[in-house]
């Protein structure tokens, strides 16, 4: 049903079976349409306004699909080795009023900073605040007023680019080499818009498994994509964390954008490499699928990374979508 049906291709299904979706009959669909009643009603009903349904009895007002019972939990942990926590996270869940039914707006960001002299902490915090501020100003505020007219892909890309400029300028002023990854996921209605730079990953979890939505901006990640390195070799590659694209270390950056309807997905996970580098996809999936509460699941994910040595800061944002 998702294909655009050109007019020259009439549907092949027999009309009397396929009529159920509009006639309001749940069963055999053979109940004939009372055309005269309809016409009479239509003739006499000249009120301007919205839709005039065929018959209040046979066509009950459509109940919109239930909004996702969305719940999110976020956690960042210093890990077992590092002396500072250079990760920053952000979550926001809002219901936005709409003339035609309210929608859910969620914003989830994980940034994994790098750079000496507290640079990593500063960069990741700046990234999170710049991205959140831009999206709140250009999307959430207009959304509350009922008019979203901004291009969401452009918004997500520009928000991360703005964070990049802010950090780059600050770094120039202070002579810092700081930078950060930034993976920002916007949930609007039933679609995800993800702006992404670096190797913090976004995953979507459904009944079939766990699916990585983003690609890591590391040469090692790229060599894996090209089939030149084995993912298992890459886990221990000394340059696994060497990124070719970061936020704040170049005046201009390209930002990856992922547009992904959530469909029947149950969870969204954002994970810094301190998590996904220690806990493999299967283990993360097991935790998410067996622990119902996002709060407890996210803690279990962080615990698992710490049990595996916790060599890096660990950050996770887990969003339950159903």
């Amino acid at each position: 049903m998702s294909e655009h049906t050109p007019p020259e291709q009439p549907d092949n299904s027999p009309p009397d079976q396929s009529a159920t979706w509009w006639s309001g009959d749940d069963g055999d669909g053979t109940r004939p349409l009372d055309t005269r009643a309809v016409m009479a009603q239509a003739d006499q009903d000249q009120r301007p306004g919205a839709t005039e349904p065929l018959d209040d009895e046979t066509l009950p007002r459509e109940t919109p699909p239930a909004p996702p019972a969305i719940a999110a939990a976020a956690m960042r942990h210093i890990g077992q080795i590092r002396e500072t926590n250079q990760d920053s996270i952000y979550t926001l869940i809002s219901s936005i009023p709409r003339e035609t039914g309210d929608a859910i707006l969620g914003l989830f960001i994980v940034a994994d900073g790098m750079g000496g002299h507290a640079g990593g902490e500063i960069a990741s915090r700046m990234a999170v605040s710049a991205v959140a501020r831009r999206i709140i100003a250009d999307l959430l505020v207009p959304a509350i007023e009922g008019a979203i007219n901004v291009s969401l892909q452009a918004l997500m890309v520009e928000a991360v680019q703005e964070a990049n400029r802010t950090i780059w300028e600050q770094a120039r002023l202070t002579g810092s080499d700081m930078g950060t990854t930034c993976t920002a996921a916007l949930l609007l209605g039933r679609s995800l818009y993800i702006g992404h730079v670096g190797d913090t990953r976004a995953y979507l979890i459904d009944a079939r498994g766990i699916h990585q939505l983003t690609s890591d901006h590391s040469a090692v990640g790229r060599l894996i994509d090209m089939g030149q390195l084995d993912p298992s070799e890459a886990r221990d590659h000394p340059l696994r964390s060497q990124l070719y694209r970061t936020v704040g270390q170049h005046p201009e950056i390209a930002v990856d954008l992922v547009f992904q309807p959530i469909g029947d997905a149950t969870h969204l996970l954002l994970a810094s490499d301190g998590l996904w580098g220690c806990v493999d996809d299967a283990a993360m999936l097991r935790i998410i699928q067996t622990i119902d509460s996002p709060q407890r699941a996210v803690r279990a994910l962080v615990d698992a990374a710490n049990r595996a040595g916790g060599p890096d800061n660990i950050s996770a944002v887990l969003v339950r979508l159903v």
Partner: protein
């Protein structure tokens, strides 16, 4: 793999520590990919080392060394400047520290054995206060990264080609060392100095090493380094790849450190900078082969190839006048074969519909025509009370069309006998869409209707505030269409309940297409929109220079749409980025169709166009006698389309 395992995944630390940047612009070292780094303790000017070398200032700070400008005091009467490279340790673990020290000592030893005008001379090497120092020839000038950033764009081919030859010379020298070749391993703009005489000097031999055929651990610099260096392999050909990457950067000003690694073949030189000669581009692109074996066999071979490129050939030999010859523009495009032409009594604005061996089309002469698809022979016509600009649709054995007389007509496809009519209050210029037995159509009476296709009875109607000329697009449980009020509507097909509506700035005449959970539609606000089908929010927008009244057509990963600004656009479905455009020089309101990798559409200049869908190049153009606003239907290798010259055309696809 014999790669060093470091505890954890410290972003960059350690890995970077093996890269040093003697004399380089410190900004260059802070490029993407550079990770955490501890700021080096810097010695103040005036400090004297070994009672002989005085610090005068700092030249650069690298991953594990600081380079100072200094002076050798032993020469009392003359000022003898030098570069003082101080190694410092930032790595936390002792293994890395030891490795770094070994690298530094190796660099000193290596430089001491080399003698080449493009390699700095080494004067001294010593330890003082627990730190290790290397005294080097001071190279005046700027490194290439600085030169490039000051230029603010690509550097001229001739200058780059001359540097390239010199770089090949010094690489040939290094690779020719006995008993083992020396691989530089870190060729990049910031490691190449340009002297005031425009001579090149390689700096930073921190990771260069004799080629001992065991796997090393050092990769050089991301973006420039070849793939094999990530597996710990570095051969002379690895330097040629990095040289190719450096030259690519200089000629395009596109920084490989910020691009996806190993994608040079996806970013051809001449696409980024068409002024580069094809010859030079070919030399560089060969050096950038992914596979070592398909690169130049040696630096010398590459040097000889460089000497054959136009700018160097002209200047050295003086014989050839390598003027750039532009390819002649194709002026007379090929046309196509006319299969048949069917003439009506007025303009054919309606778009044909092919079904059951017949072509159905509406005409401004008030008739709905049925024509034999093979021979163009008249079958039947049905006269309405007004002109027809709506495009017919076939469902089972009826053909449905709207008329300016305000009615929707359903005729038997065999003989044209009227089955039913459905009256709206104003002209119907929108075209019917059929799902199962329901017909969806808009009217100038501001309503969008769902009509029972068997009986012509209304199932529901939805009121907007302006005429509806856009036609519906059915996907899932929704029908999407645009309104003269500037809104794009998503209604439930069951009962016409509004799912969402999204405002554009101007009326929407274009009819939406659906793909990848997006509703794609043009607006008279000059923009092509991709709206989230779940909520109507713009996923992306694509701006043109005039109205977008043509209806988008999705094929593969692209959206094709015509613009009143004269362009046929191919836009990436994923992100709304332009793939290509083709300028017809006249308005396009016709909607494109893609078939077998070819895009077909009409334009106001009277032509029907056939373009290559991949590249937007013209395949053929067929001229009719009037503007073509009708949209093509393609069936069995024939393109059917109407023209304002009153005719319906069948053209060989």
């Amino acid at each position: 793999m014999a790669l060093i395992k470091k505890p954890g995944t410290t972003k960059g630390i350690g890995a970077n520590a093996s890269q040093s940047d003697a004399g380089a612009d410190p900004q260059g070292t802070a490029a993407p990919g550079a990770g955490a780094r501890i700021v080096a303790p810097v010695m103040q000017p005036g400090v004297i080392l070994q009672g002989r070398y005085v610090i005068e200032g700092t030249l650069g700070i690298g991953g594990m060394s600081v380079v100072y400008r200094g002076r050798d005091l032993r020469f009392k009467d003359v000022v003898r400047p030098c570069a003082i490279k101080e190694m410092y340790q930032s790595a936390p673990d002792s293994n890395t520290r030891l490795l770094n020290l070994k690298n530094f000592e190796r660099e000193a030893g290596l430089l001491a054995t080399l003698q080449h005008p493009a390699i700095p001379k080494v004067f001294d090497f010593f330890e003082e206060n627990g730190r290790v120092y290397l005294i080097l020839e001071l190279i005046h000038g700027k490194d290439l990264e600085t030169v490039l950033s000051e230029a603010g764009g690509p550097l001229p081919e001739e200058r780059v080609a001359r540097w390239a030859v010199q770089l090949c010379e010094v690489l040939a020298y290094l690779h020719g060392q006995k008993p083992e070749p020396i691989v530089f391993r870190d060729m990049k703009p910031s490691n190449v100095m340009i002297t005031p005489e425009d001579r090149i000097v390689l700096i930073d031999f921190g990771i260069a090493r004799s080629l001992v055929r065991t796997r090393g651990t050092v990769i050089g610099t991301e973006g420039y380094s070849p793939p094999e260096q990530y597996k710990g392999i570095a051969e002379p050909q690895s330097d040629l790849y990095a040289l190719g990457a450096t030259l690519h950067h200089l000629l395009t000003a596109s920084d490989p450190r910020t691009e996806t690694p190993f994608t040079f073949h996806e970013r051809p030189l001449r696409q980024l900078n068409p002024q580069v000669s094809p010859e030079l581009a070919a030399v560089i692109e060969k050096a950038l082969s992914y596979d070592m074996k398909t690169r130049w066999a040696s630096a010398e071979e590459m040097r000889l190839a460089l000497l054959q490129t136009p700018t160097l050939r002209t200047h050295s030999g003086g014989a050839a006048t390598a003027g750039k010859v532009a390819l002649p523009r194709v002026s007379s495009a090929p046309t196509t074969e006319l299969v048949w032409r069917f003439v009506c009594e007025d303009e054919v604005r309606s778009s044909p519909c092919v079904s059951n061996g017949m072509v159905f089309v509406g005409c401004y002469d008030t008739n709905l025509y049925a024509v034999d698809a093979g021979r163009g022979e008249f079958r039947w016509k049905y006269a309405t009370e007004g002109g027809i600009s709506s495009s017919p649709a076939v469902w089972n054995d009826i053909v449905v069309v709207g008329s300016e007389d305000g009615a929707v007509y359903a005729c038997d496809i065999r003989r044209g006998a009227l089955r039913w009519t459905f009256r709206t209050g104003k002209p119907v210029r929108s075209s019917p869409r059929v799902l199962d037995r329901v017909i969806f159509i808009g009217s100038d009476d501001q309503h969008f209707y769902a009509i029972d296709g068997l009986r012509g009875a209304q199932i529901w109607k939805y009121r907007t505030w302006m005429p509806i000329r856009s036609s519906g697009c059915i996907a899932g449980e929704s029908v999407y269409f645009g309104g003269g009020d500037g809104f794009v509507y998503a209604l439930s097909i069951k009962n016409g309940g509004v799912r969402w509506k999204q405002r554009t700035q101007q009326p929407v005449i274009s009819s939406p297409a659906f793909a990848e959970n997006m509703v794609i539609v043009g607006s008279m606000d000059n923009t092509l929109y991709a709206l989230d089908s779940e909520g109507g929010w713009p996923v992306w927008k694509f701006r043109t220079n005039h109205y977008v009244n043509s209806s988008p057509y999705v094929f593969g990963t692209r959206v094709f749409v015509g613009g009143v600004d004269g362009n046929l656009y191919a836009v990436e479905l994923k992100n709304g980025k332009l793939a290509w455009k083709y300028d017809t020089g006249s308005q396009i309101t016709s909607s494109p169709r893609v078939e077998q990798g070819r895009v077909y559409f009409g334009a106001a200049d009277g032509c029907v166009y056939c373009l290559d869908a991949a590249h937007g190049t013209l395949i053929w153009r067929y001229e009719t006698q009037g503007p073509v606003v009708s949209s093509p239907a393609i069936s069995e290798g024939v393109v059917y389309i109407g023209s304002l010259d009153h005719a319906l055309y069948a053209l060989r696809a």
